[in-house]
Symmetry: none
Subunit: 219 residues, 4 copies
Amino acid sequence: MHFMRTRLQKDDFSEPKGIPNDPRKRAKYLAIVEAALAAFSEYGYHDCPVSKIARKANVADGTIYLYFANKEEVLISVFQEKINRLITDIEELTEDCTNSWEKIEVLVRYHMTTLGNDRVLANFLQIQLRQSSSNIRIGIAAPLKKFYGLIEGFVLKGQKEGVIDSAINANIARKLIFGCFDEVISCWVLSRRQYDVTERIDDVLYILGRALVVDLENR
Amino acid sequence: MHFMRTRLQKDDFSEPKGIPNDPRKRAKYLAIVEAALAAFSEYGYHDCPVSKIARKANVADGTIYLYFANKEEVLISVFQEKINRLITDIEELTEDCTNSWEKIEVLVRYHMTTLGNDRVLANFLQIQLRQSSSNIRIGIAAPLKKFYGLIEGFVLKGQKEGVIDSAINANIARKLIFGCFDEVISCWVLSRRQYDVTERIDDVLYILGRALVVDLENR
Amino acid sequence: MHFMRTRLQKDDFSEPKGIPNDPRKRAKYLAIVEAALAAFSEYGYHDCPVSKIARKANVADGTIYLYFANKEEVLISVFQEKINRLITDIEELTEDCTNSWEKIEVLVRYHMTTLGNDRVLANFLQIQLRQSSSNIRIGIAAPLKKFYGLIEGFVLKGQKEGVIDSAINANIARKLIFGCFDEVISCWVLSRRQYDVTERIDDVLYILGRALVVDLENR
Amino acid sequence: MHFMRTRLQKDDFSEPKGIPNDPRKRAKYLAIVEAALAAFSEYGYHDCPVSKIARKANVADGTIYLYFANKEEVLISVFQEKINRLITDIEELTEDCTNSWEKIEVLVRYHMTTLGNDRVLANFLQIQLRQSSSNIRIGIAAPLKKFYGLIEGFVLKGQKEGVIDSAINANIARKLIFGCFDEVISCWVLSRRQYDVTERIDDVLYILGRALVVDLENR
DNA sequence: TATGAATGAGCCTTCATTCAT
DNA sequence: TATGAATGAAGGCTCATTCAT
């Protein structure tokens, strides 16, 4: 039976298989995740047969289903792996910042540099991930919220610290920040022209600084 | 790069079907466009069979292909219809503005109000449209660029007028503006919680004003 | 714009699947070939859905596409299987002939007997195979040329041996021979009346002998 | 209802519309026949939509169905028009021949010259006509039989006259003659190489003469 | 009579998923 | 655990035919 084919028959009770603990399994799990990242980037989620992922991961098609419930879960897992890594890195990098605006600067700089130097990852996160059914959106929601929360936290903290204008709606600020670099990177990924997005980072930070930081001239 | 995945074996003899002039045909063309908008919003582009559009438009499946070359072209046409309408409306509404920042305010306000009051349209523009293959992205590029150009034009003009900080990269400003309301609306559409995005307009404009406008305190 | 007018510009990289070596696969490949032969004969190529072949072969529709690139390739493969068998058999049978006219006699006799005793095969080779698009004609060309070459080779050799009139254009002779038994068998297959074509073999050989053989009365 | 789509529902009682008497109608009938000849030759029967015929004939798609019951009948009518013309011409041309072998010579010469100078007609008669369902074969049978009868009549008469070997089975002789020039012309039509088939006529007649004519050396 | 827009049945093909080995 | 051959549902699209005008 092919019961995953239609949403209606979606087995709501299937627990997500999750990241295996056994290190050997974990290696194969990660191999599939990396292969999927590459394959989705190359072909696009909807035009990427599971068999392409399997081939890139050097496993049989069926093996995918020993590690993931279905194709959607593969996409979700790729996102989780990548976004969690981003979050961890940013948390680490921002530890030593003197104020929250600086943390935002570090975040934007790190995020844009990371994606700007990894077009495959950028393509996945900016483009392929959006090719999603509502199932996927649900699966993505939690880690994405965490990433959002990270940014919004910086804004709120910055407001408490007095570096960020308290009149700003922090949630909107988060959307401004995210929306801004998201748009910058998306345009870059989709552009035929080859240019270096990381060169845009200062421009982005300048405008975000204007938008957020109190007493701008004294920055 | 994944854009070139399919060679565009362009059928040299198929004239683009475009918008029919004959009013009776035009009516059916528009009926299909509206049906497709609704169907894509409801099911998502990839999970929406052409037959669903046909049913919503009260025509036979084959009739779709008298007006559109294929399913992709339907999506593109819906986008063109809608974005052109938005552009026209905004151009009209901004005619009387005294300065370019005001124009941006009108644009943001109008855009957010329009989508905020039409969840189906918002879902289509913010979510379904992004579910696109590279072909679709190409088809969408032109009118989208026009919309982008409208915003960027306001920014540039504002800089000449002295209302917008000339140190800002206008292109990045465009991405900030677009990225910001885009993110705000996307989150709203995807949110389970029912709230009124139009209530966020002032917050958005406040932060965009900070980001762009010169001499903010004296505004 | 009509980017995607046709689904697939035939994948130029798809290697012809060919006859599998793995004996288990080969068995299924042959099962499909036989099923296709029967199905094409029964319904005619253009009126024979792939699903009919699958059903006759006791496989799922999709399985056909694990062995053949498309429906056309199925037809081509059936032809290749059958014509190659004919060629091999004839080559073997004609080894011991004392002269080339005898070889032609054996060829005609064997061909007409084989088809005359296998109406399904005859129907396929004489009728269904001709229902072909130019793609199919191209796919068929090589083995057909081999069969033609076999006949023409006999004629040429016969002329050297002095059994066949050297004034004859060997290529025309090939067409005479082939055209003659081809026509005889085609008429038989299409005829409602049930008769035994093999009874016509001697008549065919008599007239071909007149046409080709030198010094007929002394044969 | 689309009841012609499947054979089962074929309306056996629909009388063939036949050639109209009204001269104005007859002109349009012939226009469609000529357009169909060209269209079938160009695209192949199965790859030729009725709309292509209509366009070539400068009529609306629906108009075809005022003159012909269905697409099959169009093909049949083209064949009838053409073969009847051939038969009439040959009957006329052979009137003055001194013996039946001469008549056969005239027939072969005329047939091969006509088709050899009209690749479109040749393509239709040799290739497209064979792309036929059994319905078409039935519709074609009568005029084809007449053509066959013409040839076979010449053979029988020639045998009575003593110019053609009486030991020959006249029916087989007919198949030899027809099969031979049929094969010659088919190969020519399908060949990429551009050559002049009419130059093969003498070769064909030489070999047919050997096959049929009594006392060849004294010819 | 002529038109051509509309119909909708039907088919080739893909590919997520399963399961025998 | 891993394999990969097999499955078969599903959908985009075509086109012969009809019928309202």
